[in-house]
C-alpha cells in the first residue's frame, strides 16, 4: 500500500462513523491489532553508515525486505541494530522511498548496481517516479544494447536450431554475420552502382561517326546497354525473390518501403519487355524508364545516413508542410499582384496569373533567371517586395528542420515513441499486479477468506483462524474492514466486473421474481444482511450447495461437506458463493 493510504487510514476509519446512523445492520467486528506497540526508532547500519527511521515508516511497504519480517535475518542482537553489507549511497534513495513514497534514480549511479540494490531490498523498479523513470529506462536500454552487442560479437556461428530461412534473413539484415552475407552485400551494392552509371551514360552523346550525327551512347551501343540492364535487373530480381522467401512475415516485408523501392526499380524493365514496339505506347515506355532512377534509393540499405535522412524528413513533416503552405500563400498573393501590375504594359510575359507563378517562385527563392522581368514601375516595386519577403519566408522554417535533423541524427535510435507508450502501459500493469493487495480482487479474495474464517470459528481451532487472518497485513485487514462496513451500510456487496455482467444476464433472463424488488419493502434491508448473518451462524446440514476451500488444510476438507443456507434467499446465494470461490 502506498504511504498515503497508511497514514490516512485512521482518518478514513474514523470518518466511517458518519455512515453508522444510516446503516440498518450491525457492523462487522474490527480487526484486532495484535502487535500494538508504540512507534520506535530503528537503526539501520549499512556498511558502517547508520540510518535511523521510525518503524512505521518501514511498515508502509510490507512487501519489501525492510517492511517485512525478512529484516529479522539481519538483526544484530548485541548492537540492537539491523546490519546490511550493501552500498550506503544507494541505500539513501531506497530509504527515501519509504519516507516519501517516491523512488528516485540518482544519475551518477551505475544502472546495474542500482538494479541489484533494488532486487536485494525487494523493490520493483517500475515504482520509480515519473521524474526519473525516463532516464532509468534509457540507461537500462543502453546497457541492454551493450550487452546484446557483446553477445552478438561472440555469436558468429549459426545457432543450431535456426532454419535455413532464418539464416538467410539474418544474413540479409546484418551483413557482418558471415562472409557470404558480406559478399552478397558488396555485390548488390556494386550492381546498383553499375546500374545507375549505365542509366546516366546511356544519355551521353558518344563520339560521332562521320556518317551520322551525334547520338547518345544508348542508341549507338544498344545491345551492350541492353545486356547490362538485363544483367542488373536479373540480379535485383533474384535478390528481391530471395528476400521475399527469407522474410519472417512476407506480408510485412511486401509493405515495407525498401521492398516497394525494389519493385519500382525493376518493374519498368519487365513492362518494357512485354510491350511491343508499338508507336502509341513507346511514349509511355520512355516515361517508364524514368523510374529506373529509383534504383539509386536501393543504396539506403547500404547507408545508415540515408535512412536517417529519410526518417528526418518524415518526422519533420509538419515543418515542411508549414514551409510549403506559407510559400504557396505568398506565391499566390504576389503572382496576383504582379499580373495586375503588369497588365497595362504591352508585350508582357505576365499573360495570366499561373504564368506569373513562375516569376514569383524564381524571385522568392532569389534565383532570378531573368526570363520574365517586370517593366512597369509598379511591377518593379512589387517585384522587389516579393524578393525581400521570399528571403524571410524561406529562412524561417529551415532552421527548425535543420535542428530536427541534427537532433535525430545524434539520437539515432531514440525515435520509437510508439514503443514507449506500450512500455508505459506494461509498466503500469506490472505495478498494479505487484500491489494487488489494495485492489478489488484483493478485497473479494479476503471476503472469501473471511467466509472460511467464519466457518472455522464454528468448527476449527484458534490457530487456524489466526493462520488465515495473518496472511494479510494489519493495514490491509483494516482497509478491508472499512470496505466491509460500507457494504453493510448500503446493504449491497462489492462484486467482480465479470460476475456483475453474468448476474445482469441472469436476472434479465429470469422473470422478475419477488427477490429483486425485495428492497422496496422497509424491513427487507435488515432482512437481507442480518438474516444471512444469523443463518450463517447455524448451518443446516441439508442445504443444496457447498463450499470448496481453496487451500489444503486438513480440517477444512471436512468443511467441504458443510453446507450453508440462507433461508429463502436460496437462488441468489447459490449463484454468489461458488462464483466467489471459483475466481482465482
Amino acid at each position: 500500500m502506498a504511504a498515503g493510504v497508511a497514514a490516512w487510514l485512521p482518518f478514513a476509519r474514523a470518518a466511517a462513523i458518519g455512515w453508522m446512523p444510516v446503516a440498518n445492520c450491525p457492523m462487522p467486528i474490527a480487526p484486532r491489532d495484535h502487535t500494538k506497540r508504540l512507534d520506535e526508532l530503528i537503526i539501520l547500519n549499512v556498511s558502517g553508515r547508520r540510518f535511523q527511521t521510525w518503524r512505521t515508516t518501514l511498515d508502509r511497504y510490507p512487501d519489501t525486505l525492510l517492511g517485512s519480517s525478512e529484516k529479522q535475518f539481519f538483526y544484530d542482537e548485541e548492537t540492537k541494530e539491523y546490519f546490511f553489507d550493501r552500498d550506503p549511497d544507494s541505500f539513501r534513495s531506497i530509504l527515501n522511498f519509504y519516507r516519501t513514497g517516491k523512488l528516485h534514480y540518482p544519475r551518477y549511479e551505475c544502472i546495474s548496481a542500482y538494479d541489484e540494490e533494488l532486487t536485494f531490498f525487494g523493490i520493483i523498479p517500475e515504482i520509480i517516479g515519473d521524474c526519473c523513470y525516463e532516464e532509468y529506462k534509457d540507461r537500462k536500454r543502453e546497457n541492454a544494447e551493450r550487452l546484446q552487442d557483446d553477445q552478438d560479437d561472440n555469436k558468429d556461428c549459426k545457432l543450431p536450431n535456426m532454419t535455413y530461412r532464418e539464416t538467410m534473413w539474418r544474413a540479409f539484415e546484418n551483413p557482418h554475420t558471415s562472409t557470404m552475407a558480406l559478399v552478397f552485400y558488396y555485390v548488390t551494392g556494386f550492381f546498383i552502382a553499375i546500374s545507375v552509371l549505365t542509366n546516366v551514360i546511356e544519355t551521353v552523346p558518344c563520339g560521332a561517326t562521320p556518317s551520322q550525327k551525334d547520338m547518345p551512347c544508348g542508341e549507338r551501343y544498344t545491345v551492350a546497354f541492353f545486356c547490362m540492364d538485363t544483367a542488373c535487373v536479373l540480379i535485383f530480381t533474384v535478390e528481391y525473390l530471395m528476400r521475399l522467401f527469407a522474410a519472417p512475415s512476407r506480408y510485412q516485408f511486401m509493405r515495407s518501403v525498401m521492398s516497394i523501392i525494389d519493385v519500382v526499380a525493376i518493374f519498368p524493365y519487365y513492362i518494357g519487355l512485354v510491350m511491343t514496339d508499338n508507336e502509341d505506347v513507346s511514349g509511355a515506355f520512355v516515361t517508364l524508364r524514368v523510374f529506373r532512377v529509383f534504383r539509386i534509393f536501393k543504396f539506403s540499405r547500404h547507408s545508415q545516413g540515408l535512412r536517417i535522412l529519410g526518417y528526418t524528413l518524415k518526422s519533420c513533416a509538419s515543418e515542411l508542410g508549414f514551409l510549403l503552405f506559407s510559400l504557396t500563400m505568398a506565391i499566390i498573393i504576389f503572382a496576383t499582384v504582379m499580373f495586375y501590375a503588369e497588365k497595362g504594359s504591352s508585350s508582357t510575359k505576365f499573360t495570366s496569373i499561373p504564368a506569373s507563378f513562375w516569376y514569383t517562385i524564381v524571385t522568392m527563392t532569389t534565383l532570378g533567371y531573368g526570363d520574365m522581368v517586370p517593366k512597369t514601375i509598379a511591377g518593379k516595386i512589387f517585384g522587389s517586395i516579393c524578393s525581400l519577403s521570399g528571403v524571410l519566408v524561406i529562412a524561417l522554417p529551415v532552421p527548425v528542420i535543420v535542428s530536427n535533423f541534427s537532433r535525430i541524427y545524434h539520437q539515432n535510435q531514440r525515435a520509437d515513441k510508439r514503443r514507449a507508450q506500450k512500455v508505459q502501459k506494461a509498466r503500469l500493469a506490472r505495478i498494479r499486479i505487484a500491489q494487488a493487495g489494495s485492489s478489488c480482487t484483493g478485497f473479494l479474495q479476503s471476503k472469501r477468506n473471511d467466509l472460511l474464517n467464519d466457518l472455522l470459528e464454528l468448527t476449527g481451532s484458534e490457530e487456524e483462524e489466526l493462520l488465515l487472518s495473518k496472511s494479510m497485513s494489519l493495514l490491509e485487514s483494516q482497509h478491508h474492514h472499512l470496505l466491509h462496513c460500507l457494504e453493510k451500510t448500503t446493504a449491497h456487496e462489492f462484486m467482480d466486473e465479470q460476475l456483475y455482467e453474468q448476474n445482469c444476464l441472469e436476472t434479465t433472463v429470469q422473470s422478475c421474481t419477488s427477490r429483486s424488488p425485495s428492497l422496496s419493502s422497509q424491513d427487507t434491508p435488515i432482512g437481507t444482511c442480518c438474516t444471512r448473518r444469523v443463518k450463517r451462524n447455524s448451518p443446516l446440514p441439508n442445504s443444496s450447495m457447498h463450499l470448496q476451500p481453496s487451500h489444503q488444510h486438513g480440517p477444512l476438507q471436512q468443511l467441504s461437506a458443510l453446507h450453508i443456507q440462507c433461508g429463502d434467499k436460496l437462488p441468489r446465494t447459490t449463484r454468489l458463493y461458488p462464483i466467489q470461490v471459483a475466481s482465482p
Partner: protein, 219 residues
C-alpha cells in the same frame, strides 16, 4: 498587492500562521501565496483533545508527511478517499466530509481541525459523536436535516460502492434508504429531523450504539 494580502492575514490567527507575500506584483493573476501553517503547541492540543502526547506526535508526523504545507485542501481529501474506495466515486462524500471537518469554512483543513474532529469521532462521548454526525448530514447548517440533504448524503455513500455490486443498484435504492431513515428518525413527522430527534432515535437503536464504539482503538 502583497501588502494588502499581508494586512488581511494579520487579522487572522497570528500565533501559527505565516503567509509569504505573493511573488511578483506583475504576476497578480498567478498569485500563489505559499501558506505554511504551524499548529499550536503540543501541550495546548493535548489539553483540548482526548489524545495523549505520543498519539498526537504520531498523528502529526503522518499528517505533516502527507501535507508538508500543513493544510489539506478539498482536492487532497477527494484523492485520499478515492484511494480507499477505488471501486466507486468517493468525491461527493469526500466533499461533505471536508465541509464537516472544515468547521471554520476556510477552504482548507488545518491540523487542529483535523485533530479535533478525530478526537470527537474516536474518543468523544456518544452525544458528541452524534452531534458531529448530525453536522455532517446537515449540509446547509440550518439545524435541520431535510429529505433532500439526506438523499444527497445517502447517494454519495452509494456512489462509493461503484457500479459492480450485488444486488445491482437501482436508481431509487438511495431514496428508499432515506425513507427508511426518516421513518425511524423523524418522530413528530414534520419532514425534518432536529438534533434532539436524531440523538434520541440513535440512542434507541442498539445497532447504531454498538457500531459507534467500533473504532475506539483506531489510533
Amino acid at each position: 498587492m502583497g501588502a494588502v494580502v499581508g494586512t488581511l492575514t494579520m487579522g487572522e490567527r497570528t500565533k501559527g500562521e505565516r503567509r509569504r507575500p505573493s511573488r511578483d506584483k506583475i504576476d497578480d493573476d498567478f498569485e500563489l501565496s505559499i501558506v505554511c501553517h504551524r499548529p499550536e503547541g503540543l501541550d495546548k492540543l493535548e489539553a483540548q483533545t482526548n489524545f495523549s502526547k505520543q498519539e498526537l506526535q504520531v498523528l502529526y508526523r503522518g499528517f505533516k508527511n502527507e501535507c508538508p504545507s500543513g493544510v489539506v485542501n478539498e482536492d487532497t481529501f477527494k484523492q485520499i478517499y478515492a484511494q480507499f474506495f477505488p471501486h466507486g466515486d468517493a468525491s461527493t462524500y469526500a466533499h461533505y466530509l471536508f465541509n464537516a471537518f472544515d468547521s471554520a469554512h476556510s477552504g482548507s483543513v488545518k491540523f487542529e481541525d483535523f485533530i479535533m474532529a478525530l478526537s470527537t469521532l474516536l474518543r468523544g462521548s456518544v452525544r458528541e459523536k452524534l452531534t458531529w454526525t448530525f453536522n455532517l448530514y446537515d449540509i446547509n447548517r440550518d439545524g435541520y436535516i431535510n429529505k433532500e440533504e439526506m438523499t444527497d448524503i445517502v447517494r454519495a455513500i452509494y456512489d462509493m460502492m461503484g457500479k459492480y455490486t450485488y444486488p445491482a443498484l437501482k436508481t431509487d435504492t438511495p431514496k428508499q434508504h432515506v425513507d427508511a431513515f426518516f421513518q425511524k428518525m423523524d418522530k413528530n413527522r414534520d419532514g425534518v429531523v432536529t438534533l434532539d430527534e436524531f440523538i434520541l432515535s440513535c440512542q434507541e437503536d442498539e445497532n447504531i450504539m454498538r457500531s459507534l464504539q467500533l473504532f475506539k482503538n483506531v489510533i
